[in-house]
Symmetry: C2
Subunit: 298 residues, 2 copies
């Protein structure tokens, strides 16, 4: 069945994801800040809108994929936001990674107009977006999730309904806590190995397939060894996500010491101008701290 | 070819490993502090010796598997130690996880008597020992490694010659840094999830197979959720290994902040009487700290 869909935010992730919806023959209206980013989709049949509210006005499903909490607030609640065009029965699916608290606030606001809001952050990176193999973690109304599921399946391989509004974002933060501390494990282990004169390739081969193994070690370890800091997932995005995790933990009165540590290390990496490098560049910060070259990390 | 082998130290790991050598029709002499632990092997054809030196006196290969650096020093250099019976050409294989520095010292001492000493710590736990699927990380003379390899293959699936004396121990410490910090990632992520009211099974399913995935999360995560703290790998051994890692890092002038953190958390776990629980019980400490119930971790 062909659905009427709006897609707002056509960065690397959003444009690939919107492309899958278009390829599945849905009727797509798009809006993004830089119109040039919509060119390919428009050539493929998508309709351009002048604002989020215009994009939303003829849609039953409205997808959002923008960088941070204030961007989602602007897209939904701003003067040309989709709330201006809200009609009962619409479903808004937010693929951005943002604050769980702001998510719940937006969901309540739209709920007053009988619009259901699903938080649906993704993991899997640009390759996951291109290949439609994302993991999508969804919070919000179970019926809305079921309605949106055929569309999510155009983009994601693992689509999990996590619970009430905000639980998709919280699950994404769980993911980011795991990803970043496991990355840190690889950084410290390889720094220890290098400074002790071990052959790093042999070391990886000896330890990588047992209880020490992880996706991070297997995928980022070789890049760390080679000094290849080209992104995959960028430092600046990991830093943002860890700020969200840290903030969400503190809102619950939780002290998570490794999360605090790794958040501070990514913050140091950002300060040192590494925001556009991949997260494997964390090893450069770990090495500097290990050798006492920077204070960092507290 | 049937070799003349001594095996010293028949704990859970050592007795299983010695059993594989016996099953491969080697001539086995054994010694361990508590003779009862040798009963099964003796019934299987092993010969009992009254001391390490007696065990070593008729052996070409001498295997050691004891808890800590002082134990290895006593077994090798003590008044009834194997150095007393040293003959040129013997090869000593130490499967204990001990200090790389003490390892090199022992290797030098035996080298003066033309006895070659291989550090050969293992990972894979008691199930790896039982199933002969250990990873064995070996430092020392390359020729000695080649000579010992057919015997190592009776016990280990991945047998890596890492380099000179001490590099086996250093590689094991790399492994333990990875294992323990990755474990800590799982502890903090699941504590965050639980305190935010997430369904922990759903959370694991949503995040476990992507970039957040690890052996630790897959194997210990479900036990953490269930509160099943039966060992696998004991807290007290992880704490010891992290003391070795911390010490080895400091000997190189390295500050490894996550390693320091996780070492201090395992030390707290030991102080709280959790030494005989599995390493997944670290989550209990992480939860206490998260909720401000103990200071710990510095």
């Amino acid at each position: 069945m062909s659905e009427r869909i709006a897609f707002i935010g056509l960065g690397i992730m959003g444009s690939a994801m919107a492309g899958h919806l278009l390829a599945a023959d849905h009727r797509l209206t798009v809006y993004t800040r830089t119109k040039a980013k919509a060119d390919d989709l428009i050539r493929g049949g998508a309709v351009w809108a002048q604002s989020p509210s215009e994009a939303a006005s003829n849609a039953d499903f409205i997808f959002i994929c923008v960088p941070d909490s204030p961007d989602v607030e602007a897209v939904v609640l701003g003067t040309t936001g989709i709330a201006q065009a809200a009609r009962p029965g619409q479903i808004v699916v937010d693929h951005s990674t943002i604050s769980p608290t702001i998510t719940r606030r937006i969901a309540e606001h739209l709920g007053e107009r009988q619009v259901r809001f699903l938080d649906a952050p993704v993991s899997g990176g640009d390759s996951g977006a291109r290949n439609a193999t994302l993991s999508i973690m969804v919070g919000g109304d179970a019926g809305a999730f079921q309605s949106a599921l055929p569309l999510l399946q155009c983009m994601g391989k693992t689509n999990t309904h996590c619970g009430a509004s905000g639980t998709g974002q919280l699950t994404k933060l769980v993911n980011q806590i795991l990803v970043s501390i496991t990355n840190l494990a690889a950084c410290e282990a390889l720094t220890f190995a290098r400074e002790n004169g071990l052959d790093l390739q042999k070391t990886l081969a000896a330890v990588g397939n047992g209880a020490a193994g992880s996706w991070q070690l297997a995928n980022l370890g070789p890049k760390m060894i080679a000094g290849d800091f080209a992104p995959g997932f960028m430092i600046k995005l990991q830093e943002k996500d860890l700020r969200l995790a840290r903030h969400a933990a503190r809102e619950r009165g939780l002290v998570l010491r490794a999360t605090e540590l790794v958040a501070s290390l990514f913050s140091t990496a950002l300060d040192e101008g590494r925001g556009h490098e991949g997260t494997q560049a964390l090893i450069a910060i770990v090495e500097e701290i290990a050798k006492g070259k920077v204070e960092g990390g507290e």
